[in-house]
Symmetry: C2
């Protein structure tokens, strides 16, 4: 029994996870406090929870012990499920009449292949519900006391994936948009992407930050400039999972940090 | 007594809203199921809840009756609080030792002036916590069964505000980024912005959608092309609040709609 056991039952208007259906839900960035009530309702109702590596243990701990947890992500040193394996498994579980929660870190539709899974479910005739979540990029900015937007500073915000199909991606048009860029899954390609952004004339002194393990006990924050970001990340051993943000908004952090009760402190060089 | 009264008390590790502190929290797009557990904890603990017009009544109904609700937003036909009034009020409430929840629609740092409020609090020496939320743009896409990202379709996603200081904003660099654009607060300037995007050579036949009142009982969805979007919106009387999304991802909706248990149906012309 967890302290949460009766919560779903107490809420009015809670959606019902039906046998044979799949909920594609965002688990948020890590902190269980950033889970949505609907995702919690899914945890409470599911027969089986198919989760990624980045779903926090504290979130999974909110499921009743009767729920079966299935890991379906990529993690160093263990055989990885392919995307085809995962979607086939979701379809098989649904067809077996299970109530399936597919739980993904952040928001399921933001760089998480949730769209592919939804299309595979639809093609197989399996009913699904999408439960959006707090996306890691916005959670990381909030955790670092960096406003995503501020009048007079930016009118737009660009989310981009640093990793994925098409490594020949042209970063110049995004760089030339002149707006802050929030990068997901970027650490393995950080040097190449930073070089591309500098080549596209983003100023070398543009403030930049890395927020690793945002909203978890392992959270670390590095504030630097675009030019020095890679050296600093190497020196301080910043590794995935991490969000990188590049733009003037990063410099606002200085004005907020002293009064913020939640923002993490900087890693020191 | 609401059905929620004891939830905050039952959760382990819940952050404590201290007298004299302000939590800047996102209320999500409307549906109380998309509220985070931390925002709910704020509703449960606050002495006073200072909320915007777009915070859903069903969310506010989760506060105990002892909490005082203060409206501090802009709404047609009523005198609007200025941003300076709002920040002064937050500071005054905190200095009076109140536990203050500043509740904003969506995510507090995304086009919601949460950054300005945080800076005013910091300048006044008032401690605050930022609680990110499910941003309206991502919630609207999920509600409409439009994946925000899909491999092979897009590698980035641009959020932009259609309204705000600087109406001479140059849309061409964003348009040329070649990635889907999600527009907030856009309905009053829709014709001008669509014209700018067409001038910047986004194809006239690019799929586009409007999601009004996403995740509320008033939700309506319009799917069209960039070229025809304004005429369709006028004919079907689409009004704020609404999210507009422009890009190939919109066409994926057709493949998902039949199997989605949550996605709203189209408004008909």
């Amino acid at each position: 029994m967890t302290a949460w056991d009766s919560i779903a039952a107490r809420r009015e208007g809670v959606p019902v996870l039906m046998p044979g259906h799949v909920w594609l839900a965002g688990a948020g960035p890590g902190d269980p406090g950033l889970l949505t009530l609907d995702a919690l309702a899914g945890l409470q109702q599911a027969d089986v929870i198919v989760h990624d590596a980045l779903v926090d243990r504290r979130v999974l701990a909110l499921a009743p012990k009767t729920a079966r947890l299935e890991f379906a992500g990529k993690r160093g040193g263990k055989p990885s499920a392919t995307q085809a394996d995962i979607t086939a498994r979701l379809v098989a579980l649904a067809r077996a009449g299970q109530r399936v929660l597919r739980l993904k870190g952040g928001d399921p539709f933001v760089f998480g292949r949730g769209g592919e899974e939804a299309m595979a479910l639809a093609a197989a005739g399996v009913c699904f519900r999408v439960i959006p979540g707090v996306t890691a990029g916005l959670a990381a900015l909030a955790a670092a006391a960096i406003p995503a937007t501020l009048r007079g500073i930016n009118r737009a915000l660009i989310f981009a994936a640093g990793h994925g199909a098409g490594e020949d991606f042209d970063w110049a048009p995004l760089a030339r948009a002149g707006q802050p860029i929030v990068l997901y899954m970027v650490m393995h390609n950080l040097e190449r992407i930073v070089a591309s952004l500098l080549e596209a004339d983003i100023a070398a002194q543009t403030p930049a930050a890395i927020i690793a393990w945002a909203t978890t006990p392992k959270e670390r924050i590095l504030v630097s400039t675009l030019e020095e970001l890679c050296d600093a990340a190497r020196e301080l051993r910043f590794e995935p999972p991490a969000i990188v943000v590049i733009g003037k908004i990063v410099s606002l952090r200085e004005r907020l940090l002293g009064a913020s009760e939640s923002a993490g402190k900087d890693a020191r060089r």
